[in-house]
Structure formats: structure tokens, C-alpha cells
């Protein structure tokens, strides 16, 4: 079965550079979430999109922005990178059953590991 695809899997950047991470949700999933997980830490919610509109915002720095495109893929743009941005970035997707209950099941990708030097 198709899973959530994230690219690139690994990325090395210098401080103050920019980086873009891409996420391709499972087909027919309409909601995309971004999480950041630092070394030894728990996943932190950054932002989510439902039907291409931002649906919620978590602890996403102002230097970061994201969007969901017409084909439902999403991109996380990070500028003025700092050492503390080094982390695993997970994208997850889910779908909402119209008129019915959704489940709590988010399908996570394998993550993109960003290293800022």
C-alpha cells in the first residue's frame, strides 16, 4: 500500500541557509501534518493543512512556512536556519470521512533528517 513519501530523506545545510522539505500524502488523504523531532525529544506539532488550507498551527517558528498544493502535497520551507533546527521532520497524513467519525490514525512518513552545520 502507498505510504507517505518525504523528500529528501537527508539534508545538510549551513547556518542561515534555507531548506525545503516535501511531503506526498497517501492518495485521497486530505490532511497533512508536520512534526519536528529533535534528538532524544518527542515529536512537536508544527502545522497542519486540511483541504489545502492551514487548519492549525503549533510551535512553528516564524522563519518557517508551509503550504499544501492542489495535488495535496505539502512543502515546509525553512529560512535562516539555526543549529537548533537540526532534527527529524515528519509529515503525516489522514483523511476525514464526510459526515462520519474520523479515526485518530495519522500515517507518518519516514521523516527528513535536517542537519544544520
Amino acid at each position: 500500500a502507498a505510504g507517505v513519501i518525504q523528500s529528501p530523506r537527508h539534508l545538510i545545510k549551513e547556518k542561515r541557509e534555507t531548506a525545503t522539505l516535501k511531503c506526498y500524502p497517501i492518495p485521497r488523504h486530505d490532511t497533512v501534518y508536520w512534526y519536528q523531532q529533535g534528538p532524544g525529544q518527542d515529536p512537536q506539532f508544527l502545522i497542519s493543512f486540511y483541504e489545502k488550507m492551514q487548519s492549525d498551527k503549533g510551535s512553528i517558528p516564524d522563519r518557517f512556512s508551509a503550504q499544501q498544493f492542489s495535488d495535496y502535497h505539502s512543502e515546509l520551507n525553512m529560512s535562516s536556519l539555526e543549529l537548533g533546527d537540526s532534527a527529524l521532520y515528519f509529515c503525516a497524513s489522514s483523511f476525514w470521512l464526510a459526515g462520519g467519525k474520523n479515526t485518530g490514525e495519522l500515517f507518518f512518513g519516514e521523516g527528513s533528517r535536517l542537519t544544520v552545520l
Binding site: F45, S55, D56, L88, G104, L106
Partner: protein, 112 residues
């Protein structure tokens, strides 16, 4: 936002049953309880979800008492491959999508 509290770590041995309890005292009426498993450098993976009483699937059981202020994930006969971090989350349904806020998970170590 319902805060969850669970043990930082647990140890077990192969073949034993493991029960991880999570407290969520201020859970709201429409919230569900969901558990995820995460291996190092991998994305979290859904294990089970429930609202009340007991839910069972092929990998785990979830027990939720009537007051719903806590829940217990039960893993029958664990193996070494069950060594992972287990997260208890309260799922907030909001405007057509889920919101999952991860707290501190439980690091389960299964020993031979």
C-alpha cells in the same frame, strides 16, 4: 487540551505481558485516546484507539475505565522487536481534522 502523563520508561522480558498506563484527567467528552509506537529514526505508527471500555486488535488491547481519566495499553507476550517508545495521546477532533499533540512517551525495553 488534555494533558497526558505516562511512565518515562519500563523494562520487560520476552514473552511477558506489558501494561502501560496513561492518565488524562481533563479529557473532554468528544476526545478519543490513541496510542502510537515509535522506533528510533522512524515515524510514529498507530497502534490502537478507543473511547471507553475495551478495544482489542491484533497487536494490543486498550482498557479505558468509565471515568475515562486514564487508559492502559496492554501488549501481550512482548518480543525484543517491541522495544520502542509508546505514546499515549488524546485525539482532539476539530473542524474536520485530528490534532495530535505528543507528550513524553514511555520507553519500553524488552530484554531476552
Amino acid at each position: 487540551l488534555a494533558k497526558t502523563t505516562q511512565p518515562i520508561s519500563m523494562d520487560s522480558y520476552e514473552g511477558q505481558e506489558v501494561n502501560i498506563t496513561c492518565s488524562h484527567n481533563n479529557i473532554a467528552t468528544n476526545d478519543y485516546i490513541t496510542w502510537y509506537q515509535q522506533f528510533p529514526s522512524q515515524g510514529p505508527r498507530f497502534i490502537i484507539q478507543g473511547y471507553k471500555t475495551k478495544v482489542t486488535n491484533e497487536v494490543a488491547s486498550l482498557f479505558i475505565p468509565a471515568d475515562r481519566k486514564s487508559s492502559t495499553l496492554s501488549l501481550p507476550r512482548v518480543s525484543l522487536s517491541d522495544t520502542a517508545v509508546y505514546y499515549c495521546l488524546v485525539v482532539i477532533f476539530s473542524g474536520g481534522y485530528n490534532k495530535l499533540i505528543f507528550g513524553a512517551g514511555t520507553r519500553l525495553a524488552v530484554h531476552p
